[in-house]
Symmetry: D2
Subunit: 361 residues, 4 copies
Amino acid sequence: MVKIKINNTLARKITIMNVHYSDYLQLDKILNAQEMECEKHGVNAHDEMLFIIIHQAYELWFKQILFEIDSIIEIMNKPEINDNGPDLQMAVHRLGRIGTILKVLVHQIDILETMTPMDFLDFRDYLRPASGFQSWQFKITEAKLGLKFEGRHGQEYYTSQLRPEQVAIIKEVESSPSVIELLNTWLERMPFFSDELLWNNYTKLSHSSNEIHPFWNDYRHVYQNSLTDGEKHNLKGFDDIFINGGVEGFRFSSSAARSAMFIILYRDYPLLNLPFQFLNNLLEIDEQLSTWRFRHVNMVHRMIGSRVGTGGSTGKDYLMGALMKHYIFKDISTLTSFLVERRKLPKLSKELETVLGFKNS
Amino acid sequence: MVKIKINNTLARKITIMNVHYSDYLQLDKILNAQEMECEKHGVNAHDEMLFIIIHQAYELWFKQILFEIDSIIEIMNKPEINDNGPDLQMAVHRLGRIGTILKVLVHQIDILETMTPMDFLDFRDYLRPASGFQSWQFKITEAKLGLKFEGRHGQEYYTSQLRPEQVAIIKEVESSPSVIELLNTWLERMPFFSDELLWNNYTKLSHSSNEIHPFWNDYRHVYQNSLTDGEKHNLKGFDDIFINGGVEGFRFSSSAARSAMFIILYRDYPLLNLPFQFLNNLLEIDEQLSTWRFRHVNMVHRMIGSRVGTGGSTGKDYLMGALMKHYIFKDISTLTSFLVERRKLPKLSKELETVLGFKNS
Amino acid sequence: MVKIKINNTLARKITIMNVHYSDYLQLDKILNAQEMECEKHGVNAHDEMLFIIIHQAYELWFKQILFEIDSIIEIMNKPEINDNGPDLQMAVHRLGRIGTILKVLVHQIDILETMTPMDFLDFRDYLRPASGFQSWQFKITEAKLGLKFEGRHGQEYYTSQLRPEQVAIIKEVESSPSVIELLNTWLERMPFFSDELLWNNYTKLSHSSNEIHPFWNDYRHVYQNSLTDGEKHNLKGFDDIFINGGVEGFRFSSSAARSAMFIILYRDYPLLNLPFQFLNNLLEIDEQLSTWRFRHVNMVHRMIGSRVGTGGSTGKDYLMGALMKHYIFKDISTLTSFLVERRKLPKLSKELETVLGFKNS
Amino acid sequence: MVKIKINNTLARKITIMNVHYSDYLQLDKILNAQEMECEKHGVNAHDEMLFIIIHQAYELWFKQILFEIDSIIEIMNKPEINDNGPDLQMAVHRLGRIGTILKVLVHQIDILETMTPMDFLDFRDYLRPASGFQSWQFKITEAKLGLKFEGRHGQEYYTSQLRPEQVAIIKEVESSPSVIELLNTWLERMPFFSDELLWNNYTKLSHSSNEIHPFWNDYRHVYQNSLTDGEKHNLKGFDDIFINGGVEGFRFSSSAARSAMFIILYRDYPLLNLPFQFLNNLLEIDEQLSTWRFRHVNMVHRMIGSRVGTGGSTGKDYLMGALMKHYIFKDISTLTSFLVERRKLPKLSKELETVLGFKNS
């Protein structure tokens, strides 16, 4: 049997003008980055290679996800997103790609599960105290999307696992605008229509005070009527979120919440379609992240039972706590509680419909 | 926005006694191996990063697959596989793992498909003549499993794409025993029972010449009766394969073919269960490999239409030709043509059943 | 062990005013529609139940796919699709759903593959001549999307398998406008801008005869320059498709082909984003359909080898022929051969950009 | 556009001797079992068809899963499972199939998620009080695997949703032996070797009282030494489970727990391989079931937010409670906490190894 030794000499031997696959992908680095701890201890543990490679594959994909998030933040950070240019479309497309990557990362757990608990025990002790909690790329991904320190489960434990430099980087990221914050700003700017525009073009149905826009006053009536007895308390939630400036822990301002709501309700209009896909893709990312976390919980439980993890955590409970707390875009999914049936929606005027349409139609 | 620069200094700054996740995974190498050609040409092509990272992820997994294949070849290369030890179970388990990895690699194509043809065009020209055909790890994987040079589609093209050193490695691999060859040897050794044992313990049903074992003579009768008019020619195939030493291009000897057939027919007996899983896992690998090739064909077609690939191939046609020809374990699936209904199988004697069982039962 | 007998009496016993899950889903029909042929012959073949149920699950999903296709055809059949209403968005969304369903149908083959060839043989003979080729819902799906009789592989075989009434239905479907034809009409109507509009707002780069629009003349120049020596013949293809009215077997008129091309090239503009998703979703459907066909080929080969199928077909070869010929939307993927790099695209004038934008921006 | 009316007349028109696909699959029943509530109310809600069909597809697959479980229970209910016959292999194979089906059912949620909350609202009110909680096939599946009434989350709510006849069926199932109970019995019978056999062939390492078998005494020592300070309390758990007859809520007797443990520890020996796959496949089923439940929680949250479900439940919280409590085979995964490294395992004597092997080796 020929075992392949990969070395720099082989890969670089011939100086070529043209691009070669092996050089382009820097395979000498990629394929020479696996050193098994078990070998250093003179112990044979076949499955350690799998353990190394799957984590490296995860980190490669985290790099890609960060690359996409950075580009999305760059777009959203512009003073004004160009509604008639490629900006929004690009952001939506790349969020969709992140969702697709995450689906593969969830699937990838199948591979790790071919390692049985006994196979893991063969090398597990040599890894201490290394732990997946030390993946700072993953922490940064969460932070850039919108998970701040104060929203984290087990805050002390979480920083204790990282190196000072890594904590510093994450702190810096946490103090920079995240996707959820930039989304709030973008929604507040009312990307496509102003409160004034809506005001002027909306024929109100119900009497409304000065304080609340007639559209939202009407909508509030419809919503109120849709509530069953057991749901009546939801009306206070409605007022807090859409009128009175928000509730504790909810990260959208009332103005932003109204825009998001309008987008979800009237997504059929061309102007609102990409914005709707934007919100939907964020929910998809949250769902994939949480599914990944959940399968990870299951796997850890199957692998180490109720014993303490290599990083010293109590395993399943910690992870389950994190899962429940770390839905990054829960502010968007919360809005679902305030929908009404399409056929009961306030009807938009012809003028408003025109505004939501294309120039040339 | 904070963009993360990953550098060796950061990763190595603190000398630690204990294992740290970042060092253990050599993330300084893994995460610093992405250089975009488009940047060298002062061109912006966002999707090149995805292109690099997905190929690196593929190569990481190819390394893992090779690691598993090497361990399987090592087991099968032993003068005698220990039927009562962990050998066979380990080989079966690892073949199963390769199948699981390949499923993820098939799924991974979904990610590349988020790159549209226009996005690919942004950097495609800078890659010439690099090409996926230059992945020597993939070629070696095929060769170790059993795909020899003479079985390859487009032989000249295939070597023209590789560096001399890489061709040399593949040649060496091709001259070493592959999984399919070792399987043939193992089947010939009749791992669990000898011809003699079968002979002594089998009560023949039909008259049989000296040349053919009474069991196979009986089986041949049953098979012959199961053929419809349009299938009568299959009997000659049966004789060629199981009695007369094989047919052109078929890589099992008649003796090995009979063993494989016996395993498939009587897989319900405990002794034959792991061997059956062995054969089945090889078919699963073939199926996943071919599905990967097929999705690759589709993707190439969607990406570059009928234009010439970066490596100079005519794309779809070449790939489709390779797909059809590169079923590595077609020798096993061929056997399916010669099955008969379970209820018509020659009945094994009590003695033989005992032999196929566990000591203590 | 309690085996459950499902009967109408149980399900209907209590007359209720309210909707009950079992009644709503008509589970008395759904769960009492499995009769195993093997039992009628007094033979035990455990896996026949799986065989029945998986095919019923497929047929349920085909019904859903047809339901979606019908609604899409209804939208596209309107004299004028409302660009500022929900029409296009709905069609795109439902095409996306069909793609999602098809992915599950591809995955579902994993389940059938848990049936081994020997398990299939237990009941295979009792099914003759029933065959998956007799699924008229699948044939109608293909026909409604755009696969006509003359485009089918093995035409005689295909009709021989269906009942006269079923053939009649398919014939009627084949003579009604299919998705691909309605797409051609829609593209010809130039949904968002007319030739005139483009003409008036485009600043031509190159000299152009009267016969060809300056935009396309310019584009043709760019395309010509992008071709390598081996690809020069592609220019004739370009002229045939985009200028001279098409080529044999290509189902878009030149006018429709130009619209589709413009959409693909300038998809970043908001107006063209949903149309681009429309085209892309059709390609996705084609890809999933072909992957399904391919996995089906593999499975049939693994299941019956080179023997004749229950419906009398020669199995693998027939299916592979159909696979290669039945890409329904190959007209769209053909366009990929005629793309050029984004940075070389003719620049659109400010006026034209405005036209492709939203009213209120 | 041709809409297809499916009627019995069409399907049955021609009396045929042979089996036809449409009759065999009883497509007249299957494809005529969709009646949309919204139509009865004169309301158009396109997505109700999807809602009906996906639930019917789920119920079809539940029927298949029950069919497999029944066959497995039948095998395990035999006075003695034939270790040298097909029994165990068949049970393992079918458990594997259930896992494969569940994976597709998890994937199927992707399809339902193409229905947006607004699309669901279009018909949601017409369904009250129908609810997925009324799927008695699913309840029976859980019960047959081993989930008893006393182990259920929200017991009162759960029965309130079902019809009296359905509750009666489930009660009967709950009083019949479930897979987990039959597994306990089978493990207690020590399928492959008796305590006596192990006793006679084991060379003890440590001093042992009369009360504990020397093998387990030795193993206990090794385990004790493997515990970190924070894990010392695990030793009491060890004694309770493996020696003192079990702990509250743990469904294996000490004798059964020891057998299961021995199988997991020494799975490499041929005799223990299928039993190991048996245990592993049960864990796989649990994992897929819990993943399904989790994705269901996510979907419900995304669909109805914090509002009350059609069946009157408070949605997410109820479902999450059920998820955490309904791991049916947690008794097996608990054992993982008591593993030690393979290289520290008590060594088996040659005699014992022989006993775990095949007759003819």
